[in-house]
């Protein structure tokens, strides 16, 4: 099963390598990983999406906890949480479909952040389902380029942990 794990880690060089090395060295799989500084610049926040059976997920959580630079590990999958990802999509629609692209972007609350004679670059944010749906709709329009941030996740407040 798929799990989203958030980590509070020391903001030091080598920390990312320790974590990615743990995954590759033990044969665990990383589906996405995102890192950013915390409010307190001494720390960073990471979100890792991984998959495995219960025993593997348990090992991943324990192994991450064992790293000296890792302060807190939360498997948010087990709790009410919000997940978001941002994608930038550069599409090259034929002239007669340009309006459709803009329409769809609006329906998905996307924004056009760059345009040229033949392309639109659309920024879209959401959970996985929404992103996949939008990418699906853009495919027939001609996707030239696509970059995604990887997921970030946060616990919802007011729910029992």
């Amino acid at each position: 099963m798929r799990h989203t794990i958030t980590l509070l880690v020391e903001n030091r060089f080598g920390v990312l390598s320790r974590i990615s090395g743990l995954f590759s060295g033990r044969g665990y799989n990383i589906e996405s990983l995102s890192v950013g500084e915390e409010i307190d610049p001494r720390y960073s926040q990471m979100t890792i999406v991984t998959s495995g059976d219960d025993l593997i997920i348990e090992q991943i959580n324990k192994q991450l906890n064992k790293l000296v630079d890792v302060i807190k590990v939360t498997d948010v999958t087990e709790f009410e949480h919000v997940e978001r990802e941002m994608v930038l999509i550069k599409v090259t629609p034929r002239p007669e479909r340009k309006a459709e692209v803009l329409n769809l972007a609006e329906i998905f609350r996307g924004r056009v952040v760059d345009s040229s004679e033949s392309t639109y670059t659309i920024e879209i944010t959401g959970d996985e389902k929404k992103i996949e749906a939008f990418i699906g709709l853009m495919k027939p329009m001609g996707i030239k380029d696509l970059v995604r941030t990887g997921k970030v996740a946060i616990l919802r407040e007011g729910f029992k942990k």
Binding site: E10, G14, K62, K66, V68
Partner: protein, 580 residues
Amino acid sequence: MKLTGSEILIESLKKEGVKHIFGYPGGVVLNIFDFLYDDKDIKLILTRHEQGAVHAADGYARATGKPGVVLVTSGPGATNTVTGIATASMDSVPLVVITGQVPTMLIGNDAFQEADIVGITRPCTKHNYLVKDVKDLAVVIKEAFHIAMSGRPGPVLIDLPKDVTAGKTDFVWPEKVHLEGYKPRYEGNKWMITQAAHLIEKSKKPVIVAGGGVIISGAHKELRELAELTQIPVTTTLMGIGCFPETNRLSLGMPGMHGTYYANKSIQDSDLLIALGMRFDDRVTGKTDSFAPNASIIHIDIDPTSIRKNVRVDIPIVGDVRKVLTALNKTIKTEAKTQWAQIRKAWLKQIDAWKRERPLTYTPSDEVIKPQAVVEKIYELTKGEAIITTEVGQNQMWAAQFYKYDKPRTFISSGGLGTMGFGFPAAIGVQLAFPEKLVIDIAGDGSIQMNIQELATAVLNRLPVKVVILNNGYLGMVRQWQELFYGERYSHTSLDVVPDFVKVAEAYGAAGLKATKPSEVEDVLREGLFKIKKTVFMDFVVDWKEKVYPMVPAGAPIDHMLFEEQEARQEKKRRLKVVK
């Protein structure tokens, strides 16, 4: 007063109580070595290879329980430590390895003797550091020793660029360590401990499996109390050897691939396993699906990742084995009203029957020296008072099987990584820590050649390490697998050219002795162990056909054991075929 990085390093090591460093100099550690030149309190043991330095520090640490310290240069000096670090990491040995690094300005430039040792050793250290500012140095050293020694111990590496060793700052020794992400848990969960006590009381056929964690936490007394109080037999893994007296009636010896028949039978037949400071290595469990099929499992270990990694566990207790056992013993004593001797009678009787059915054995000979006979003779002559180190392979298994260990920290062997070339330098470290003790490395002719250069270290430092070479001309353990599982195709396991070990020893200024007949074994041992007061190589030319039994083929359940007599039967069949 401002001190240089080198001075801060040495002063910090003194604060940590370090008396010996094992090391090897080089370009970027010149500042440190220059400072050591005049130092009176710390002695540097110059090995002849950096790998030897790490194994020596490792042996020192295993024998004393104190951290072993290593100091080497950058590049090749650093990379040569990797095998030693990985060895220590697998067996939870506390080491602090200090490597020199090129100046911070040059890092990443592929400078002369530059290696990214922090990157290389990340997966085989407990933690590691690159110190970029001399101001951080004291804190890093304090943290390194704390991490190496606490929780589940392990090696910590500190990479020190040359400019940091020369840079100056105020020396402030931190009294406390502050690590937000590192807080090992020592006390076991009380509720779980009570549950464990209940299970022990209910069980009919319990077995204790004691591992290296019992030795590390110093829980041998608590273990003995538990075993004797509740009359539960104890099997000790390779790393746990010595944590429970093998001369005790409740001892089952070693379990697993080359374990005793009765240890493996007991585990497979048990209804409760109490696993203490061990991690269910594949050499212990064999096929995990059929391991202890009827047993509930209580697993006590300080490392949460060891629990439920390889086998299912009914009662997991994360904590220090000694602390948990103390609480467990107390709970059992106050709560259980059981007549232990009475309820264990049938189980212990069954175990005694297994012990009689198939004891550890071999076929003695008057014509060729049996390696097992040499080990037995060492036990007899030393009365079990020696500290034994081993290399890896058949020598290691025979040393584990045919010498009886009654005290912790008297059997020192590379268990997890299985590093050939470990035993001799480790013995040097042990001898340095215990100059008065008899320290014996039980070696093979293959393994001893992997760090034979350390003869110089032993001789120079007047360390009377005794090396017993069970010389069969083969990489015996691999040969054994080829014989049993690869259709006797002996691919590259014959050593063909084995040096004259007597002459090698003498060339380095050590003593050399040789025995080729069974009648010479005792004399050579008496002379080598007791009469000669310096480093000795004793070369025993042993029966090359001898194999380690019992043996569980890799991946088989641990009660599927091969025994010597089966081999004899097959041999007979083969001969008959030839006659026909």
